[in-house]
């Protein structure tokens, strides 16, 4: 007996892209056709403190004044830039380089490890600094053009063309100036110039006790071992310190961050006056944060400004954002009330005010105006699947929504917050660039690319919610109908899943956030379905952190709620449902296949985590604690324990040099399938890391498409 399914959803968006002359279909090769990607404007940025924005077009650096945006001036074009390079006996460029504004009148760019400074009023180019051609982890101070960089494990700085070696560590397991903690906690730099450019704060990472993962490079005459340090959950991890290098006296001072080994140093921020430096000390358990202040000259601990704790985890993702007019105050982003909000503190650690509040999240803090009256930020206030620009008056709390049109707005703010570039996407507009003012008034249209797929057939995309099995929680779904949709037919369908923290698959942007390949699969005749389950991002702390210590459980339950909905659709063939995902989505795909045997006929999982004990410390322990602390959780999530359930076709794909989800995961899973006599399919991308790119990605799209076409498309 077929159960009647009560459809618990609100249709939010139902957009058909049926336009005339739509008749072509994608091939996987079209992925490399840039005409099918939304048109972008290159190197868009504001000029110093002016309300003037610049960008590169036709190999020239152009500018417009936000107050008079219809007029375009050329600052300099490639021919003239090359002439000046020639005069300096430097190699000419084949395209206009990306530039960074230093102030109102000067910008710099890098070519062949030389930093060139261009003075606009003087129209003069000069070599300002240079660094070693093998330099990595480059940090440039945009006022002084001092540069920090690493060679192998050591740190160097170059000042006015003169190189200083900051560290001379012979132990190659001690790294200076590199990104610690595997880029978790929002850390994306290994060193930080002080606001005055006079000193450099840098991470020192001792990974002597971290085990090597044995990667192999097959591209040498004889394959070579190419081990990488990979701290696995529960194992010895990095020990991190923060040094301050003062080039004037050629001395390093280390912050006195004494504490247990393996603690994390996050949110590194210089005091605008350069006297102090702030860092969040997060314990390895990731449930206790101390926001500490240190004397940047002596490295001495000054005080703990505040602490944050949580039974599940605390996840500092940002530095301190100092006000502009009052340098004794800063804005701190925290999810301490369950949602990412802004808090005003002073540098003594006094909480002055919670600036924003509500059941939505600040997704990007742009900063304050010059007088610190209002703070500007993007948020999910309107809807979890939209992004809008808001301003909140710090004193009154009065909040205004600046952007209007439904969709996803990402904004680049002019320094004074009077103007913004609004980079906009919606299901009806792949990408547009507008100049707007504080009221959201559109001052100029810089670019509008409504539909790069206009010559192609596309399926009807809709975004809606269904209720989770708690009867309360809204879960966002995206459905793309196959092209040439006939409601009387029964279609195979493909569930595309990610499901892990830090990511949201569905938003009201172009094709609802679905990528090229999902649209290609809709062209191949599949119903394409995606659901952002509990555990995914931008829905608040509870929604995302509910997976703590038992990843897989709730995510699967929610995805199965989605499948139940999918099966309720008259045009879905309930016997031909497939599932596909990569990384956490690979873990989800294999989990869905094995923990609900018989539901999915075909699955394809890329770079899947198979057992969280093989994932790294920083991300892994946040959600799962250590294998010793949470043996049951690890056991329940380990897909080795479900291999015996395998029914249907499962293709696993892995990059042989994946240093995020290491190869051991899928190889051990294959081993278990073999032991249990379960057929599973496999493919590897030699040399690929945690994903594929370029031609390999086209190959992979064909590989996965072929697999679904061979085993899911046919009714047989």
């Amino acid at each position: 007996m077929k159960k009647t399914y009560t459809i618990l959803f609100i249709l939010l968006v139902a957009v058909s892209l049926n336009l005339p002359a739509q008749n072509k279909l994608f091939t996987a090769d079209d992925y490399l056709n840039m005409d099918l990607h939304p048109k972008s404007i290159n190197n868009l940025s504001w000029r110093g403190n002016q309300d003037v924005f610049t960008f590169i077009e036709n190999n020239a650096l152009l500018q417009r004044n936000a107050a008079n945006p219809s007029k375009t001036d050329t600052i300099i074009n490639l021919a003239n830039l090359n002439k000046k390079l020639n005069d300096l006996n430097q190699k000419e460029l084949t395209s206009f380089p990306n530039i960074t504004w230093m102030d109102d009148n000067s910008f710099y760019f890098i070519s062949q490890s030389v930093i060139f400074k261009y003075d606009c009023p003087a129209a003069s180019l000069a070599k300002a600094n240079k660094f070693d051609k093998d330099g990595e982890n480059i940090t440039i101070d945009s006022k002084t053009l001092r540069v920090a960089y690493t060679i192998n494990n050591n740190l160097f700085v170059a000042i006015d063309g003169v190189t200083m070696q900051v560290t001379d560590e012979k132990n190659s397991n001690i790294l200076s100036g590199q990104v610690p903690s595997r880029n978790e906690f929002g850390i994306d730099a290994g060193s930080y110039w002080s606001p005055d450019g006079k000193r450099l704060a840098f991470y020192r990472i001792d990974q002597s006790e971290v085990t090597d993962y044995p990667l192999v490079n097959i591209y040498d005459r004889i394959a070579q071992a190419s081990p990488e340090k990979y701290p696995m959950a529960g194992m010895k991890s990095q020990k991190v310190e923060l040094g301050i290098f003062n080039p004037d006296v050629n001395e390093i001072v280390y912050l006195q961050t004494n504490g247990p080994e393996n603690q994390y140093l996050t949110s590194v921020t210089w005091d605008p006056a350069c006297r102090f430096i702030y860092t969040g000390i997060l314990n390895r358990d990731q449930n206790h944060l101390w926001m500490n202040k240190y004397d940047s000259g002596s490295g001495k601990f000054v005080k703990t400004l505040f602490e944050e704790t949580n039974d599940r985890y605390v996840e500092p993702m940002h530095g301190l954002s100092f006000l502009k007019s009052d340098l004794s105050k800063f804005i701190w982003q925290s999810r301490r009330d369950g949602w990412n909000h802004l808090y005003l503190y002073n540098t003594e650690g006094l909480l002055l005010k919670q600036i924003t509040t509500g059941q939505w999240e600040v997704t990007d803090l742009l900063g304050t105006d010059l007088h610190d009256r209002s703070v500007y930020y993007e948020s999910t206030m309107e809807s979890p699947v939209e992004r809008h620009l808001y301003k909140t008056d710090i004193k009154t709390g009065k909040t205004e929504k600046i952007t209007g049109t439904e969709g996803v707005h990402h904004t680049i703010a002019a320094p004074g917050m009077n103007f913004f570039i609004d980079v906009f996407s919606s299901p009806q507009m792949s990408r547009a660039y507008y100049v707007i003012d504080q009221k959201g008034t559109k001052l100029a249209v810089l670019s509008e690319d409504a539909n790069p797929y206009k010559d192609y057939k596309t399926g009807e995309m809709s975004i809606f919610t269904i209720k989770a099995n708690d009867g309360v929680t809204d879960l966002y779904c995206r459905l793309i109908k196959p092209v040439d949709f006939d409601p009387a037919k029964k279609y195979p369908s493909l569930v595309y899943v990610y499901g892990g923290p830090h990511a949201q698959m569905i938003e009201k942007s172009w094709t609802g956030g679905a990528g090229f390949w999902l649209n290609m699969m809709a062209q191949q005749g599949y119903v394409i379905f995606t659901l952002d389950n509990r555990g995914s991002a931008n829905r608040g702390f509870e929604f995302e952190s509910v997976i703590h210590r038992h990843v897989g459980d709730i995510e699967i339950a929610d995805q199965m709620t989605g499948v139940k909905y999918l099966k309720s659709l008259s045009y879905v063939d309930t016997t031909r449902i497939g599932v596909d995902g990569w990384s956490y989505g690979g873990f989800m795909t294999v989990s869905l296949m094995l923990r609900n045997p018989g539901v999915f006929r075909v699955a394809c999982a890329g770079g899947p985590v198979i057992d969280w004990k093989w994932y790294e410390v920083m991300y892994g322990e946040r959600y799962m604690d250590t294998p010793m602390e949470n043996p049951e959780g690890y056991k329940k999530a380990s897909l080795l324990n479900y291999a015996g359930n395998l029914q249907g076709k499962l293709l696993i794909i892995h990059g042989t040099n994946d240093n995020t989800v290491v190869w051991q995961n899928s190889l051990a899973f294959l081993d278990e399938c073999i032991r249990q006599g379960k057929q599973v399919d496999y493919f590897v991308y030699p040399g690929a890391v945690h994903n594929t790119a370029g031609r390999a990605r086209v190959h992979m799209f064909n590989k996965i498409t072929g697999y679904f076409n061979d085993y899911l498309k046919q009714t047989k």
Copy 2:
């Protein structure tokens, strides 16, 4: 227009296995069902110098007298053996151990690193010697029960329970007592006790200059690098020496085998009087052999007995086989006249006589009778696809064929050569054990297992020849028709190929030499075809060595001659031909698929050599010289150069720890396919070396069968 194909073959055998009650079909799991394997007799051997043979049955060591073979005596059973072990305070055994006869009255066996000696007349068991439980590369002198063994890279001996450390080399790249040259040249031991048991000859291998191949062990908590020395064609190789250890004085003397580094030391043989030791010095080019005599006491070079050279290669595979009554003479096996034959030499190096001659090969030398009147050997004299036992009178050259029935006879000779155990197989008899005399008279039937497949459907198997494209050379073929064969139908067919030297796929033994899986595929409805191309074994030097410097060319031509024949068969669907092979057969499979695009719809290659530059020095350079010496040959054979030709479905399978054909081969091929946008399928067996076993093998049979069933069986 369809060409008429002239069938150039002689039907040699056409055996139908259609017996009543045949109705079952194999599943891959049946591979592990021992009832489907020809029945064997365990530990069959002759007792000392007596015409008495012994074997293990029902956990007892039994014996029969060849002259009166109907009577069976029990020497000792497990219960009594365990009683005696118990008396010695030793652990009891769960099954009767394999034994080795020391003389007429005593045998020894090993249990838990202890060597036990059993005296039959006294019915007494004693601990005779012991060695370290971690000992490897064990060589036991069966008279003294002295034992040589290795731990890590060093060599030890144990004499009467006392251990001596022979080498104490700290450089782990210098190995003593281990097999050199990757087991090529018939070398299967790392040390050799002198006939009197007083001294030990052993190999010393310096592989310091050999590169590591980066194997990985995924079975640890964190995958571990597990590098193995793997000398690749053209690269630095092993340096080998021979030491003689004298335990009486605790001294090692090394043979003065001075010569270029990387030469090979083959055919190591002690003089029966222990004064000299012989070894063949083969240059790295493998085209010049010096058979040298050394003083075993001083290590000094005495003389070169003879030399062998060949434009292609010389391949010494055996030691010297000394006569029994005249210890100044020995038999040497050589292919110097184009076929493997026996030559009588004296120890001064004088060639006394070529004993055997003709366009056939001696395949196994059993030895001479006690008076050295006749030599006994197996050969292909009757037919390349049969093996029979022969005796040749050394003086007169008179040759007699001893075994009668058509098929394959392998014989275990009694010491005096008066009696033989004839282990026989033919298409009508899976395996039989007979006691025969010098006339071939069957004195007793020990076992006859006609057809272990009797409850199963099997396809009709035939062996025949077709002419190669030279119009002259006979190529042996084996064809198995699908079960329930209907000549009016069109069947898919599967070409199973090996194609490389040292092997012959087809012989007149049980199912023509086809294994379990090929018979299973005939049950699945495929025509199964195999051809032994030029380059394969037992057809003479010219036939096998014609591939020299251009592997792939002639082998493919011959296989395509086979395919042409196959296509001429009315019941073969010419659009549904598949090909399958492993190792050299994997190389052949991919070569056939890529160098004849469109001929094969589906291919499956296991552990394939993709480019011979990634194969090892010893085997690789014999056939291909080095990449520097033969760049054109390497280039033409490299399958990377044909990846762009790929049409149809190709599945490649590799063991992740394959230390014979290293993983780099198939990974690099995948990489090239990806680069060229060619779809290829892949599977790996984690931890597997150059083949799979047990449950993994069953899994692999299902994997390959499924692949052919998915893509070749359907006419669609």
